[in-house]
């Protein structure tokens, strides 16, 4: 599904190399977690994959189901099936959540040459998805993320994911700022979306999210590279001993 080869990335405005040769393959149907200390390049990886400005790829490539991602505009990547759940979802006053989602869903459908959803079809779909995430109608009417609590914002991200039905989902520290109950709700939303033709890349500092979203593979990232790859036990090891020991082992 997602294939990253020798990816080198620097900041556009500064001579600062952030990713220094990332190799990563996430097959369809799997959930991969990326853990790592602050500043290791986890969030940068998610931004570069989804096409945010401000980064320059100096070497390497990234593709989604064989299609090269790096030359695409962010909206083209979205239409190709990529989704990034933001660590800090953005507030957009004056734009209704519902309007925003309908615009996004139909823009993607249009870009893929599919028929756009009618108002009625869209309403039916969103009500159904919102219910499972315990998002009430009031929250759908409010402006995008404005006045939402941390938990509501993250649930809203998962609702968008459920509506857009991406094939490759990247979750950037979705657990940050969530209490235990909110985290469970978000994890349930993610788990409900797990399927043989969809893959997840879960970026997190902590192991606790991975108790709820069980990963197939865990990667440890440090200083712009994947330095260790293993099973779920790797996350437990981080939880118990911190990154220090692990990184020392790698050298």
């Amino acid at each position: 599904m997602l294939e990253i080869k020798n990816l080198h990335v620097k900041l556009e405005d500064e001579d600062k190399q952030i990713l220094k040769g990332v190799d990563l393959t996430v097959p369809a149907g799997e959930v991969h977690a990326i853990m790592g200390p602050n500043g290791s390049g986890k969030s940068t990886l998610s931004y570069v994959l989804s096409g945010r400005d401000g980064y320059e790829v100096t070497e390497g490539e990234a593709s989604l189901e064989g299609e090269s991602l790096l030359e695409m505009e962010p909206e083209e990547r979205a239409a190709a099936g990529l989704f990034l759940a933001f660590q800090y979802p953005v507030e957009i006053p004056g734009v209704g959540n519902m309007t925003f989602l309908r615009t996004a869903v139909n823009a993607q459908r249009k870009a893929r040459g599919e028929e756009e959803l009618s108002s009625a079809e869209f309403l039916k779909l969103i009500r159904e998805k919102a219910r499972t995430l315990k998002i009430d109608a009031e929250m759908l009417k409010r402006p995008v993320n404005v006045g939402f609590s941390g938990g509501e914002k993250k649930r809203n991200e998962i609702l968008q994911m459920a509506m857009l039905e991406p094939r490759m989902c990247i979750l950037d520290e979705t657990d940050s700022g969530l209490d235990v109950d909110a985290m469970r709700l978000v994890a349930e939303g993610v788990n409900a979306l797990r399927s043989p033709d969809r893959a997840f890349l879960v970026i997190t500092h902590y192991q606790r999210l991975l108790d709820h979203i069980r990963p197939d593979v865990v990667h440890i990232m440090a200083d712009g590279r994947i330095v260790r790859t293993g099973g779920p036990e790797l996350a437990l090891q981080v939880e118990q001993h911190g990154y220090g020991d692990l990184l020392a082992e790698v050298g």
Binding site: R52, D53, E75, P93, G94, V95, P143
Partner: protein
């Protein structure tokens, strides 16, 4: 043909040394066909004297520091082509239509000027009546609004406007009065003077749309009685290469509500002044504007100059001004809140924001607070910035194409101003026009090539 009797009134004021600008004023007046006036005659004579005393504004005038008055000082406007009239604003709403063509009342195109609880007349038709209710108002609020800042073009309007609408409301008008301006002449230089009087508890919504002239000077005097409610929405024709001056003078009595919203979608050179006197306790006055300026049809310059006086207790005022500027467009905001001694528990708020879509555009803001009461709440804020890159990326990452994302973010920026329109049908109509205009232009880089990534 100039009216000699009115002009004669100017003579005493120009005795003695000639000042710079006197020639310009003389030429300005000479180019106008000054009306004799009927019941407004004393007000016109008074205006002639006042205008002679104050002269036309110059670039050195503090109040004209950010806007060059030259185009308004010129004796005649440059002829300009008419923008295509695609406006369908408010047409789906039941309303009382009043049509002006090149500044002249068009009775055939207008509805019958009759409705329960209201008297409506054209100014020219009413002039002949003696003891008119508007006699005590025409030019009066304008004259009162000349302190502490001179507004010569409003005075010129009182002197020169042959037409306008006089509306006196005693009841609650169930449908809006809609003034539609049409233009047929390329060089129409139009003065219109509207007088609105709302008696105690009366309600009126006044709408203005269309294209007034190549150059226009419109004054609205609005006198709100106790508990009256006045909603004013102005949305002139988009992309009209016009020079426009507007003044609204309002006196707001106790418990009355005044709300004015102006939409400007492109144009050339515009200045709107609002002078609002909150005279009675527990009154509310809101004034808002949404401005979209694109320099693609010529240098865009839009000035909002507001002066709100709190002279009573427990009153609320709110100024919300938002300007989206592109292709070298200039936006100006001069907004003042004056809280007089004794105007305790005043709640004054003012926000002015510029959204610059390229580096060649600019937004100039001069917020002012002057407070002489000790128990008041007054706040003001002003910001100038570019589109929020994070928000833009957020929308695009959800699959919303860049052009569409920019439209959504511009609407988001304007939302607070649009929210000042209470009537949802009117707000939806305005929003629809904005969205259509923005969408039609989305991705159009314009002259400065600002649409690139």
């Amino acid at each position: 043909m100039a009216d000699t009797a009115v002009l004669a009134a100017q003579v005493p004021a120009v005795e003695g040394k000639a000042r710079p600008g006197d020639t310009a004023l003389a030429a300005r007046l000479d180019a106008l066909d000054l009306p004799r006036g009927g019941f407004t005659r004393p007000a016109r004579e008074d205006a002639a004297q006042r205008l002679q005393a104050m002269g036309l504004p110059g670039a050195r005038d503090e109040y004209w520091r950010y806007t060059d008055p030259a185009a308004f000082n010129a004796a005649r406007p440059q002829p300009v082509d008419l923008a295509a009239d695609t406006s369908t604003l408010f047409t789906g709403i039941d309303r009382l239509n009043i049509v002006f063509v090149d500044g002249r009342f068009d009775a055939a195109a207008s509805d019958a000027l009759e409705a329960e609880g209201v008297e409506i007349e054209s100014l020219a038709a009413a002039e002949a009546r003696a003891d008119h209710w508007a006699a005590g108002l025409y030019g009066r609020l304008e004259a009162a609004g000349q302190v502490p800042v001179k507004r010569p073009f409003a005075t010129l309007n009182t002197l020169a406007a042959a037409e306008g609408v006089l509306i006196r409301v005693t009841g609650k008008l169930d449908r809006p009065v809609h003034i539609t301006y049409r233009r047929s002449a390329a060089d129409a230089d139009v003065h219109l003077h509207h007088v609105v009087k709302l008696e105690e508890g009366a309600e009126l919504t006044l709408l203005e749309t269309g294209s007034i002239g190549a150059r226009s000077n419109v004054v609205i005097e609005a006198d709100l009685g106790q508990g009256a409610r006045f909603h004013h929405i102005s949305a002139k024709r988009a992309n009209d290469p016009k020079l426009g001056l507007g003044h609204i003078f309002a006196r707001v009595a106790a418990e009355a509500l005044f709300k004015s919203f102006t939409l400007t979608v492109n144009g050339l050179m515009m200045r709107n002044e609002a002078v609002i006197d909150i005279a009675g306790d527990d009154a509310v006055a809101h004034i808002a504007a949404a401005v979209l300026g694109d320099g693609d049809i010529g240098r865009f310059h839009h000035d909002d100059t507001v002066f709100i006086t709190h002279a009573a207790e427990r009153c609320e005022s709110r100024q919300v001004f938002k300007k989206v500027l592109k292709n070298g467009a200039e936006g100006v905001f001069q907004g003042k809140i004056l809280v007089k001694p004794g105007a305790q528990k005043t709640d004054g708020y003012q926000i002015s924001q510029g959204l610059l879509l390229d580096e060649g555009s600019q937004f100039l803001a001069k917020p002012e607070l002057e407070i002489y009461a000790d128990d008041v709440k007054c706040s003001h804020g002003s910001t100038t910035g570019a589109l929020d890159e994070t928000a833009l990326f957020y929308l695009r990452s959800r699959g919303v194409p860049k052009e569409r994302a920019i439209v959504l973010l511009v609407l988001s920026f304007l939302a607070d101003a649009l929210d000042e329109i209470e009537d949802q049908r009117l707000r939806d109509d305005i929003l629809g026009r904005l969205e259509d205009w923005l969408t039609a232009r989305a991705g159009n880089p314009g002259k400065a090539g600002s649409g690139g990534a």
